[in-house]
């Protein structure tokens, strides 16, 4: 498998009136071609910050950022503004939860496609643009006729489909989706996710799918990264499988036990006691220490072991876990 995007030792701290607050700590992960890598976490875990950091959307006066985001040959944090502008959307495109509200209310859907395409491909003729728009809309199962419509004339689900089509307009290799269907109804959500999965297979895209919904991500992604308080706790290939043969980080286990099953035989659900930590007051040890049922004395102060393999579990209580070290 080829690497589509590599995030290396990413540290992000927001600048606040009370000083720096670290929100991402030493995040390293590799996204391969032709895979969906899920990122799950609760509010405040840093998953959306991760998406925005990857796209280099923070101005230096908002956050202090160190580390690398490598797409193709280029580190997005060292390239010129001009190159960055080209790489965004052409190589890496994104869809956010509120994207559907980002459509410009006073221009037609067609004009959105025209703008996007011309910004990167100024030589396209009007006819080519129309042709491409039609194809893109069809890919997300919209009638090409809606190109004449304005955003307010479409339903939420249709608008989110338009945004996904826009993200695909320049044939990117990497697609970053942050809660792409969260605001939508169950049935619409499932139908859009089915389309995302089909498009991903067709184009062999590398998709980073960020969501708070573990069960939803686990039905789509090949690998899932679990974030907690700004750190990666685990990357697993086992999804929500919690058989005895499958090892998970204690936090991941807690999440799985907290989710009611639709059809399974497990009836009991258990929450994770306590609340997520205040990021401004985090110590050096494992951020899950306070809530962890398996904690050891060392966990309070010893930093989590660094890991960069394809799958891993970062936990002092589980040092013997075999790591899926396929790619290194």
């Amino acid at each position: 498998m080829n690497v589509a995007m590599a995030v290396e030792h990413l540290d992000v701290a927001y600048r606040t009136p009370n000083g720096l607050v670290s929100v991402l700590r030493d995040i390293s992960l590799t996204l391969y071609h032709d895979e969906i890598l899920g990122v799950v976490g609760e509010s405040g875990s840093g998953k959306s910050t991760l998406a925005q950091t990857i796209m280099r959307l923070f101005k230096p006066d908002v956050a202090s950022i160190t580390g690398r985001v490598v797409v193709g040959e280029q580190d997005l944090y060292t390239v010129s503004p001009r190159t960055l502008r080209e790489v965004r959307w052409r190589d890496v495109a994104m869809v956010f939860q509120s994207s559907m509200n980002a459509l410009n209310p006073v221009i037609s859907i067609q004009a959105h496609f025209t703008d996007t395409l011309l910004a990167h491909l100024p030589h396209l003729t009007a006819k080519e643009i129309e042709e491409r728009t039609r194809n893109l809309l069809q890919q997300v199962r919209l009638s090409p006729a809606i190109a004449r419509n304005y955003p307010h004339e479409l339903s939420g689900g249709m608008r989110q489909r338009v945004v996904i089509a826009l993200a695909l307009a320049l044939d990117p290799e990497v697609l970053i989706m942050d809660e792409p269907t969260t605001a939508l109804d169950v049935v619409v959500q499932r139908s859009i996710l089915n389309e995302i999965a089909a498009i991903q297979r067709q184009r062999r895209l590398a998709v980073l799918l960020i969501s708070h919904d573990f069960s939803l991500v686990s039905s789509l992604a090949q690998r899932i990264a679990v974030m907690y308080a700004g750190q990666l706790m685990e990357i697993t290939e086992h999804g929500m499988n919690s058989d005895a043969s499958v090892a998970h980080h204690p936090y991941t286990e807690g999440l799985i036990a907290a989710i009611p099953q639709l059809l399974g035989n497990r009836v009991r659900i258990d929450g994770i006691p306590g609340d997520p930590p205040d990021l401004a007051e985090l110590g050096t040890g494992c951020p899950f220490y306070d809530r962890c049922p398996k904690r050891l004395a060392m966990c309070e102060t010893t930093p989590l072991p660094p890991r960069s393999t394809k799958t891993f579990i970062r936990c002092h209580a589980m040092p013997d876990i075999e790591e899926g070290n396929h790619e290194g």
């Binding site: 049935v187 069960s215 907290a258 059809l263 929450g271 994770i272 997520p276």
Partner: protein, 320 residues
């Protein structure tokens, strides 16, 4: 219908007027009853009428047609003192605990008000009762939480305050409208379990409004599925998720995470027609099994097996 019903709605219709457009019926002739210590889940998509139904049951809305019976009394059109008394008996928990608490008031104040206004306690007694309520929802030490303001609490803690506030009037019925959908996964389970234990302690009846079938299966004894302002199917929770009868329930289940299938049994997506002039089954335009009859006649709820009703002509024709 069960005789021990705490609340019973009969043929409830709720009409909303729109400017320069035909009125819509958000709830169209819906009947529903909830027994003592029973939880009924109302499941459906946005716009299906589930929230409107909940608000009509606690009489935040006055139904346009139909009757609401609470413990044998007709509360459909009561007002003034009687309505205030009813509000102490039938409480509502809202979806968004960030919006439902006043940022300028302490937790203690939020709980004292209903104790004084709904239960008529003196200020001194109300204050003592507050710590009792906080204890019940697990916010201890209660003295500390009493003095906190909403912004000092996490989402889960705020929802506990909202639950305590609902309990303050000593209700028999609580309508919980998506009480966990704004919360993080690790906190949802705790709130669901809290709702369960409070039900056992106080013998409460719940209407649990949600879009999430899995949590409905967990919390509820019976599940009613709403679509386009009507209840299209109702059964015990286990039966509904394991052997659904109505084509819309099939679609909803297929779309839910954890279902056995990925393919969605629908012909097209789109919102149902809610105007009064609609004829036929609300799901007919999307239904893969639609028949000519479905577009002109509205199918009634019929029993497909004991304690299991579904509104579909297919049940009369033979196989679903």
């Amino acid at each position: 219908m069960k005789d021990n019903a705490v609340i019973r709605a009969e043929n409830l219709t709720i009409r909303f007027a729109r400017r320069k457009m035909p009125d819509i019926l958000a709830v169209r002739s819906v009947s529903l009853s909830i027994g003592e210590k029973e939880t009924v889940a109302l499941v459906g998509e946005s716009g299906s009428g589930k929230t409107t139904m909940g608000r009509a049951l606690v009489r935040l809305l006055r139904p346009s047609r139909g009757t609401v019976w609470f413990k044998g009394q007709n509360v459909t059109t009561i007002h003034g003192k009687r309505l205030r008394h009813y509000h102490s008996q039938a409480q509502l928990i809202f979806q968004d605990p960030f919006a439902s608490l006043n940022p300028f008031h302490t937790v203690g104040y939020h709980l004292e008000r209903p104790l004084m206004n709904l239960r008529g306690l003196s200020e001194r007694v109300a204050r003592e009762t507050v710590s009792d309520l906080l204890m019940q929802v697990g916010l201890t030490p209660t003295l500390v939480y009493q003095r906190k303001y909403p912004h000092e609490l996490s989402g889960g803690q705020r929802q506990r305050v909202a639950i305590a506030r609902a309990l303050a009037g000593n209700p028999a019925l609580v309508v919980a409208d998506e009480p966990i959908s704004m919360l993080d996964v690790s906190l949802r389970a705790e709130v669901l379990r809290l709702l369960q234990s409070i039900q056992e302690q106080h013998g409460l009846s719940y209407l649990y409004i949600t879009h999430d079938l899995a949590s409905a299966r967990y919390l509820a004894h019976r599940i009613a599925v709403m679509y386009g302002a009507s209840i299209v199917e109702m059964a015990t929770a286990e039966t509904l998720v394991r052997s659904p009868a109505h084509p819309y329930t099939h679609l909803l289940l297929a779309a839910s995470v954890g279902s056995a299938t990925d393919a969605l049994p629908e012909t097209q997506s789109g919102a149902p027609d809610l105007t009064e002039s609609r004829v036929g089954c609300p799901f007919a335009p999307r239904c893969p099994l639609v028949m000519d009859r479905c577009r002109v006649e509205t199918p009634p709820l019929v029993e497909v097996e004991p304690d299991h009703v579904s509104a579909c002509f297919l049940h009369q024709e033979g196989t679903p």
